[in-house]
């Protein structure tokens, strides 16, 4: 069964089109990375999936219509919409009490166990915790909920690299079991490259690329071409070219690996490189944001 299925999902804010009728199908047990520049429509798409915004078109999440049944959907869906959305006045124990009181799939013992691995005190208020600790606390809560779908929208924004690494490590090792579905958006693309099973690029409210990571690895190849072989390389129609230390790095879609090997050093491109190539010259000006 598909975890999420959308047909002609469309959302406009006044004259601005946030989602231009996208079709989407996410199977169970996938970890999907939703990548796009700011204002591409990622958050709007996630908000529609989470029942936080209304929309035009068809959308089913775990067999339910998110907009009309958000509270029921949230029994099976967890999300971290942003860092630091936990109420600042609440105490850690109150948070555990509350989530335990309203969520039937919350395992308090597991949350306590996860918190015991951190330096977060049970009696602290959220406002007394550092940004990284708040993220740890939120993740501990989420991981103690036995959900079918987890949505993470920029879950590590503003956290230092240690917390970010730890965040994805615990997500993969302690949470992901192969049946759960995870959707994650982030600007720190390279950090989730090895986490994902599927990849989706979104821009101007449209899906511009959709592939599994196996497909990604087999389809896209990057070659650092020797200058004398540049003309030969161009003949193979690269999708993108960028200069690195005076040499050219060319990105190819579905090219023959052996043929490329003759031109120079072949390697696997990063998601960020592919992103820049797909988004075209306009997006390449914004590369700094993507990285």
């Amino acid at each position: 069964m598909a975890c999420i299925e959308a047909n002609g999902l469309r959302k406009t804010f006044g004259t601005t089109i946030a989602l231009e009728g996208i079709n989407l199908r996410v199977e169970e047990g996938r970890i999907l990375g939703l990548i796009g520049p700011n204002g591409a429509g990622k958050t709007t798409a996630l908000n529609a999936i989470l029942g936080l915004t209304d929309y035009e078109g068809e959308l089913t999440v775990l067999g339910r219509d998110p907009w009309s049944a958000r509270d029921q959907l949230m029994r099976d869906v967890c999300f971290i919409a942003d860092v630091a959305v936990l109420p600042r006045w609440i105490r850690v124990t109150q948070l555990l009490d509350y989530v335990g009181g309203v969520h039937s799939r919350f395992d308090r013992a597991k949350a306590e166990g996860l918190l015991a691995q951190t330096t977060i005190k049970r009696s602290s208020k959220v406002r007394e915790l550092s940004k990284g600790m708040v993220a740890q606390l939120h993740l501990a809560l989420i991981m103690a909920i036995d959900a079918k779908l987890l949505v993470l929208d920029e879950p590590t924004l503003g956290l230092d690299i240690l917390y970010r690494k730890q965040f994805y490590d615990s997500l993969l090792n302690d949470y992901f079991d192969g049946t759960r579905t995870i959707i994650v958006t982030t600007h720190q693309v390279e950090e989730i490259q090895d986490v994902l099973t599927d990849l989706m690029f979104i821009n101007h409210g449209r899906i511009v690329l959709e592939c599994s990571m196996e497909e990604f690895d087999s389809r896209y190849l990057e070659v650092m071409v020797n200058p004398e072989q540049l003309a030969a390389a161009h003949a193979l129609k690269p999708m993108h070219e960028r200069p690195v230390f005076g040499r050219s790095v060319l990105l190819f879609d579905s090219a023959d690996r052996n043929q490329l090997a003759a031109l120079g050093e072949v390697r696997r491109p990063s998601i960020a490189d592919l992103f820049v190539a797909v988004m075209g010259s306009k997006a390449s000006e914004r590369q700094g944001e993507v990285k």
Binding site: T53, D54, L73, M74, P87, D97, G100, G101
Partner: protein, 313 residues
């Protein structure tokens, strides 16, 4: 509730589910967040108790003066401090309630925590009803207990001082029978909560919609209509109506006609001494009450709609 809070390690079944009580926990979380719900009335009570203790030296004198009065005036004079204490705490509770409602659906959007609350299986209806019930049920109950405690303290402290000065304390208890007065108070609080339901509902609606300055938005329409009426027709019906809604309380719920005491020329103090003065039947059949309740329900329903679609600001 916390069935998972067990010492022994139990293998976690994926389908295991514990019963939940979203409304109960939503109300509790409101009390965690808004300590003013009980601190406000407590501060009012503390001020009253402090004032009472400061002036307690004059208490025997005043009682001696009261003894010289007519029976009915004396009755009102002895009751007065307790009524004032109740009024002050009650008014504080109402003010706290209004500001609580104005912030209830606005604060969670401003601090973005609405994204967390909405990530849990609690419907918008439950959340808004929890907030409404804090103003309509929890606050009156809190006020009730604080008022009773304050009055009881005043009665006991006053009685001790009176007996130390060779005066009979039983007269106070006779004129202010605590148990009966508490029943009257509880009745009054229910009447008042129903009477103010549209005010709280309106405040919740404004708080679910406004992006800033909830207090201004809450009073603006009423000010505009009042001024418009005054300028155009030189009348103030709308203003009187609003004032009546805010500051009077369900007049139909009580019958003061037979029991008001004239203190000075034309100055009357209504007194409440018998259960026959309570007229719940008349109150419950008055159209003003029901129109107000319909307005309140409409406001809450619209606030639920807004909470569903509004995100953080």
């Amino acid at each position: 509730m916390n069935a998972s809070n067990i010492i022994t390690e139990v293998p976690n079944k994926p389908s295991a589910s514990t019963p939940t009580r979203p409304l109960y926990w939503s109300v509790r979380r409101e009390l965690w967040e808004n300590k003013s719900i009980y601190i406000g009335p407590l501060i009012a009570a503390a001020v009253i108790v402090f004032g009472f203790l400061v002036s307690i030296g004059h208490f025997p004198q005043r009682r001696r003066a009261a003894l010289l009065l007519d029976e009915s005036v004396r009755h009102a004079a002895i009751q007065l401090p307790y009524s004032i204490a109740a009024m002050v705490i009650l008014m504080t509770g109402i003010i706290v309630g209004i500001f609580y409602c104005l912030d209830a659906l606005y604060g969670e959007r401003r601090d973005r925590s609405i994204l967390f609350w909405k990530s849990l299986p609690v419907s918008d209806l439950t959340s808004v009803l929890a907030k409404a019930s804090v103003a309509l049920i929890v606050l009156p109950l809190v006020s009730f207990f604080i008022i009773v405690a304050t009055q009881l303290f005043m009665l006991i402290a006053g009685s001790i001082v009176l007996s130390m000065n060779g005066l009979s304390a039983s007269m106070t208890w006779q004129h202010f029978p605590m148990l009966r007065q508490s029943v009257f108070l509880l009745y009054g609080l229910v009447v008042l909560a129903l009477w103010h339901a549209p005010t709280y509902g309106w405040c919740l609606l404004v708080s679910s919609w406004a992006r800033r300055a909830t207090f201004l938005w809450a009073i603006l329409p009423f000010a505009v209509i009042s001024i418009f009426e005054w300028v155009t027709f030189n009348t103030s019906h709308f203003y009187s109506f609003v004032k009546n809604r805010l500051f009077s309380f369900g007049a139909e719920a009580f019958d003061f006609s037979a029991a008001s005491v004239q203190i000075q020329h034309g100055q009357h103090i209504p007194t409440l001494d018998s259960f026959s003065q309570l007229t719940p039947g008349r109150y419950l059949t008055s159209p003003g009450l029901w129109l107000g309740l319909i307005f309140a329900a409409t406001c809450v329903a619209v606030a639920v709609r807004f909470r569903r679609s509004q995100g953080p600001i």
